[in-house]
């Protein structure tokens, strides 16, 4: 083995960060050789080195963004706030509807019935908070998975400083609400339900 090859030997476990250093050392050694045939090979190696540099830079940027914090973590926190704020707002709407329902009992029968019907629609519509909450929880689970995968990639790239392992979150038990255009309606469910045999 030549001196050049020995000094540029790859480490036993090659991570992306080490690979970058290794390539740079090979390029530097090749550059010192007095041989014109080295040029195409050097050009390919430089391209590879630049590509690895760019990939590491992009990964770091993905992980460390937005006001010096963590972009994905802060997005998940924003979504948690959305769930919490809509829950509070729904609670207030429900309280107002319950008050209307009580007041309706003091009015004449027809007005009371009309108000109660309107209040029923408010109760029915308030269920949006449950459905949107479940959908947002699904999105938060997906963000969590993306973040964990980026951390794994960063560790592979030998940039542990940016890759802080985060605690595992609880993922939804099943799939949550389906997308409306794909979901079964109550009529579909009723037909399906009637067609299935119960327990033996």
């Amino acid at each position: 083995m030549t001196t050049t090859a020995r000094s540029a030997a790859a480490p036993a476990t090659l991570q992306l960060g080490n690979a970058n250093d290794f390539l740079d050392r090979v390029i530097s050694k090749l550059d010192a050789l007095d041989n014109t045939q080295k040029l195409p090979l050097m050009s390919v190696l430089r391209y590879l080195s630049d590509y690895i540099h760019a990939t590491r830079r992009e990964l770091r940027a993905l992980r460390c963004e937005a006001d010096g914090g963590k972009l994905l973590t802060s997005s998940a926190s924003e979504l948690e706030e959305v769930v919490s704020e809509t829950e509070n707002a729904t609670g207030n709407i429900m309280s107002a509807a319950e008050t209307i329902e009580v007041i309706a009992t003091r009015l004449d029968k027809q007005t009371a019935e009309e108000l109660t019907a309107a209040v029923t629609r408010i109760y029915e519509a308030s269920a949006f908070q449950d459905i949107t909450g479940q959908r947002i929880t699904k999105v938060m689970g997906a963000i969590d998975q993306v973040e964990n995968r980026i951390d794994t990639l960063l560790r592979f790239c030998n940039t542990e400083a940016e890759a802080t392992p985060k605690p595992k979150k609880t993922t939804p038990l099943v799939n949550g609400p389906q997308l409306q255009k794909m979901a079964n309606t109550q009529d579909d469910i009723d037909r399906l339900f009637a067609s299935i045999n119960g327990p033996p």
Binding site: A127, A183, D188, F193
Partner: protein
């Protein structure tokens, strides 16, 4: 409406808002005796202490999902004939099949309206489950 509104209903959901909606809708159809639990485990404990006439449960809860609660109820000698309606956003065919095979009395998909709730309760209680 054919069922006796004097029944005692246990509603189970981990969303407080949904428990409140359900309680209000049940009150509007004349059912006043409503107890609630925020997960399957709590619901099972309450049911064993004081068996309800009807259980209306969500699916996605921890600890103990609605499906697990249903299985425990059906395996319990004292509770096994209790009518059980699953009210859930899980509208996938496999979920409906799993619930039916576990012995659910009926299945309501969220979001639902008061008429659907009333019709399902009526159907389940009048069918003599």
């Amino acid at each position: 409406m054919g069922f006796n509104t004097g029944i005692k209903v246990l509603i189970v959901d981990d969303y407080n808002t949904m428990l409140r909606i359900m309680r209000n809708l049940l009150r509007q159809i004349g059912v006043e005796a409503v107890e609630d639990a925020s997960n399957g485990e709590e619901a099972l404990r309450m049911s064993r202490l004081n068996p309800p006439d009807l259980i209306i449960s969500d699916w996605n809860m921890q600890p103990m999902t609605g499906l697990e609660l249903l299985q425990k109820v059906r395996a319990d000698e004292r509770l096994k004939r209790t009518p059980f309606i699953m009210v859930t956003a899980e509208s996938k065919t496999e979920n409906v099949i799993a619930a039916k095979q576990a012995g659910v009395s009926n299945y309501i998909v969220k979001p639902f309206n008061a008429d659907t709730l009333r019709a399902k309760i009526d159907g389940v209680l009048c069918a003599g489950h």
